[in-house]
């Protein structure tokens, strides 16, 4: 929180937006009453468990479940043989498409395991302990295959091949050589050779980042009931109830109308709860045993069996003139897809140069299969790795040119009308305004003193995905409005969406009563992800508000026997001549004056909009141990319009701390046997509150021209700048430029002592 935040670039005045009401679901959450996935209890419920591969790469020759089946209390066992035939089909999950055949294999392997932790068989039993006993009694005969878990090795011609049929998707002719490279993306603009020829200084660097996990506190959990009438019901922790329904229906080859997904309260997701793991498996078990089946992961299963975000290898080459103007940029990005094709290389390649104007540029991105879990989105998927590489190189260029780090960003910074290397032209955006906020901030203006200390800076960018959102709303006679939505609420979006309806109707935030409902009860809505929920579902709430307004105006006109056009609406007041009626009074008259007032709205905003952030960080590096302490941290971000400033700050603070963890500690450690060594929250160290200081958040508001209230999504941008900013601070403190994440004590110590 900062005294002068939000910094607004709009003179629009709002009544509800920008205030900080207590969230609608708050009391349930602080009393322990909110129902999360694991809290679902059902009559006759069985508990499911998964048998997972101990090998990183192996062919499954045979599975013998005969002993397990005989254990008292075991109700059903399922294996990959139970999948219906799935032709190669691609489903769009909002934040990335998925091949259904691969998705099924990932939920339960069919003939091959591709990573340690890969699911092989599932058991439903009386309780978890019995299910675990049964899992241990299943015998699997494997043919062990050589594995590869390093991205650079996986791209070599002689690497072990995960999918013999995989061909690289590229503009060029596909080669017949077996490969792990799934996709090659390429963007090009201007004349790269001429650009580098015009440069006075050229810097070229190579970076590596490690595999990291979203680390949501609630493990994956789902309950499924395949009813006797053939209808499948699912209660699950998911970022998208409709995408969960879609995936499950496709995997089980059921009509979508036969599946109902009820989203439970969700204990974090960050991109990791979009793909299904349990839903279709619990359903298969339920069909076999005729009971509801609940499945919950243990923490090691979350690390080894769900999707982290990719490790990467990135090369960046930048050229600039003496006065700091960039003349050319070239980037090579290789990202791990994990066990199955389809990683986040696309957005990574789109984001790497997104903060600067580059007349001449080439970006090449490669998506590479390795024997690790299939990677998934993690908050601004692909952008953090790219920003670490680009912003670090830019900071180095600034010091080479003896230019201020803000200055070089100002000279090259993107603004309205600039064309991104991958094509789109920016509308009104707030990057330069964020730089202004940095320079005006208390943090930037307080000198940093003391030995072994440094101040770093880094910027970041993420889109706001549009996609589809639906809501419906009905006016109650007591003057409140029920709002039904399909966007699962992870971080308080019930409130930020309800506030947009309240603003439209001129009523109080708490007079709108939002409810996240099941897939039968509201129109199709895409995932809570892509920084789209407050932005896009908020647009739907605004639209339904306009619908209700029109109906209410007509009803007021009926009361006064005038033309609806003659009714003036001002906040919650409806006026005609000297007669007036408040929203509440009008609502009370609705039952006796006509039909109930009910509205619905669906939106699918075209394209995407743009969020920028800049972070400042002060660190102290212990010269003996190379431990980095974060002394002070300020996150600055353009939110367009902060609907609920506390929750915008919360997103900025939470994203920053995840980024701090990524920068300093978090990584999947692999042994030479290609097995993860640290699959627990003790050894995979996410930041505790003792590891971080208060995180100052300065909100900048440059209205988004494509949203009625100017909103930009804010959830993802804040994880993008931290690693680059911290690397810069470490350089300022020690003179060492780190090019590998995490910048953990052993790695930094080595760099400091081997200089």
């Amino acid at each position: 929180m900062s005294d002068n935040s939000p910094i607004s670039y709009s003179d629009k005045q709002y009544k509800v937006l920008g205030t900080r009401p207590v969230r609608h679901d708050g009391a349930d959450k602080v009393t322990g009453r909110a129902i999360y996935g694991a809290d679902v209890q059902m009559s006759g419920m069985a508990h499911g468990k998964i048998l997972r591969s101990p090998h990183p790469h192996a062919r499954i020759k045979a599975i013998d479940t005969s002993i397990a089946e005989k254990i008292n209390g075991v109700y059903a066992i399922a294996t990959g043989q139970d999948w219906p035939d799935l032709i190669d089909k691609v489903a769009d999950l909002g934040e990335g498409a998925v091949n259904l055949h691969d998705l099924a294999q990932n939920c339960l392997a069919v003939d091959k395991v591709l990573y340690k932790g890969h699911a092989i068989a599932a058991v439903a039993a009386r309780d978890v302990h019995v299910a675990e006993e049964a899992i241990a009694a299943i015998r699997v005969d494997y043919e062990i295959l050589p594995a590869v878990t390093d991205i650079v090795e996986a791209m070599q011609a002689d690497a072990p091949i995960l999918h013999p049929g995989l061909k690289t998707e590229t503009l060029e002719e596909p080669s017949d050589q077996p490969t792990n490279i799934d996709r090659h993306v390429h963007f090009e603009t201007g004349d790269i050779d001429a650009g580098f020829a015009a440069a006075d200084v050229i810097i070229e660097r190579e970076y590596r980042t490690a595999t990291v996990h979203q680390g949501y506190i609630e493990p994956q959990v789902s309950t499924a009931l395949w009813n006797e009438d053939g209808h499948l019901k699912i209660w699950t922790s998911t970022q998208g109830s409709f995408t969960a329904r879609h995936q499950t229906a496709e995997l089980l080859q059921l009509p979508i109308s036969k599946v109902t997904v009820t989203p439970c309260e969700i204990g974090g997701g960050f991109g990791g709860k979009i793909a299904v793991y349990f839903e279709p498996v619990a359903a298969m078990l339920s069909r076999k045993c005729g009971r509801p089946v609940k499945m919950t992961m243990q923490r090691d299963e979350v690390f080894e069996g769900t999707g982290p975000t990719p490790a990467s290898n990135i090369k960046v080459k930048l050229g600039a003139t003496r006065d700091g103007k960039l003349t050319a940029g070239q980037a090579y990005l290789a990202y791990e897809a994990g066990a199955f094709p389809g990683g986040v290389i696309g957005p990574g390649a789109m984001c790497i140069f997104s903060c600067v104007e580059l007349p001449n540029a080439i970006v090449d991105g490669y998506d590479v299969c390795v024997n690790k879990p299939k990677t998934q989105a993690y908050r601004a998927p692909g952008a953090t790795q790219a920003a670490f590489a680009f912003e670090s190189t830019l900071n180095e260029l600034a010091s080479e040119l003896k230019l201020d780090r803000i200055e070089i960003r100002r000279i090259n910074g993107v603004k309205e009308g600039v064309k991104r290397v991958d094509g789109p032209v920016y509308p009104r955006i707030g990057y330069l305004e964020c730089l202004d906020a940095v320079e005006k901030s208390a943090h930037w203006n307080t000198p940093l003193e003391g030995p072994n200390r440094g101040r770093g800076i880094g910027a970041g960018y993420w889109f706001n995905i549009g996609l589809k959102s639906s809501v419906s709303a009905s006016v109650n006679p007591d003057g409140t409005v029920h709002l039904l939505e399909g966007s699962t609420d992870i971080g308080g979006t019930r409130t930020s969406i309800a506030m947009q309806l309240a603003e439209t109707l001129g009523i109080a935030a708490h007079d709108v009563l939002p409810k996240v409902v099941d897939t039968d009860s509201v129109g199709y809505t895409d995932v809570t992800g892509g920084s789209r929920t407050t932005f896009a579902t908020g647009m739907a709430a605004h639209k339904v508000g306009l619908d209700l307004l029109e109906q209410l105006t007509a009803r007021a006109a009926m009361l006064w026997e005038c033309d609806p056009i003659e009714v003036q609406v001002d906040g919650d007041l409806y006026r005609f001549g000297d007669q007036q009626i408040t929203f509440k009074q009008l609502a009370a008259k609705l039952p006796e004056t006509g039909d109930p007032v009910v509205g619905r709205a669906s939106v699918s905003p075209e394209g995407s909009t743009n969020g920028f952030g800049v972070h400042i960080v002060d660190v102290e590096v212990d010269p003996d141990t190379a431990k980095v302490t974060i002394l002070r941290y300020t996150a600055i971000q353009d939110a367009g319009k902060a609907i609920h400033p506390s929750y915008v700050e919360g997103q900025m603070q939470g994203g920053a701390v995840q980024g701090i963890g990524w920068a300093l500690n978090e990584e999947y450690f692999y042994g030479d046997d290609h097995k993860m060594r640290n699959a627990s929250l003790l050894d995979y160290r996410i930041p505790t509150c003792l590891d971080v200081p208060m995180i100052d958040a300065i909100i900048v508001e440059v209205p988004n021209p494509s949203h009625p209230f100017g909103v930009r999504g804010v959830g993802e941008t804040p994880i993008v700048p931290p690693p680059a900013a911290i690397a810069d601070a470490i350089y300022q403190a020690t003179g060492v430029r780190m090019t590998q994440l995490p910048m953990s004590p052993p790695r930094l110590w080595k760099a400091m002592t081997q200089r």
Partner: protein, 158 residues
């Protein structure tokens, strides 16, 4: 499978009996046996603090306590801290301070904080961070949690 044992404990001020297997954790007994699902499971390994409850006034990770160890003990869970249909000031501070996002860590934080404030009514920021370091939150970045605890501590002053 060993025989179930009958345990008597005071839970949220009420004397309760429940049966459990020797291999069951207190967390399991609370959630599955007693239908007190406020305590959450995040790791089942003692590393995240989501399952924190008070055992004779001390915060414990209930996933690492065996249910049979609760014999004769006094246990307090998040369900027990709001009294008489009113939120406890600490709960109110978490709500008003937006100190939760997904909320799954919240019950654990509330219980650890309650124990902290019972022991140290006016903790420094350093003390708060030290005492809460066993509770992981992945959403908030801790800023608003620490401030909510500070606000609760200040409230008790007045």
């Amino acid at each position: 499978m060993a025989k179930k044992q009958l345990i008597t404990a005071t839970i949220n001020g009420e004397q309760r009996e429940f049966a459990c297997e020797p291999r069951q954790s207190l967390l399991e007994a609370l959630r599955d046996g007693l239908q007190l699902t406020g305590a959450k499971e995040g790791c089942n390994n003692g590393n995240c603090g989501a399952c924190t409850v008070l055992l004779d006034g001390e915060p414990v990770v209930s996933c690492l306590v065996l249910a049979v160890e609760a014999e004769g003990a006094e246990i307090e869970t998040v369900e027990g801290i709001a009294a008489g249909g009113k939120l406890q000031p600490l709960q109110q501070c978490f709500l008003e301070g937006a100190a939760l996002q997904c909320g799954v860590c919240t019950p654990g934080f509330l219980m650890t904080t309650k124990a902290l404030l019972d022991r140290i009514p006016h903790p420094s920021e350093e003390e708060i961070r030290f005492q809460l370091a066993g509770n992981l939150c992945r959403c908030t970045g801790y800023d608003k949690i620490v401030r909510a605890v500070q606000a609760a501590a200040e409230g008790e002053q007045t």
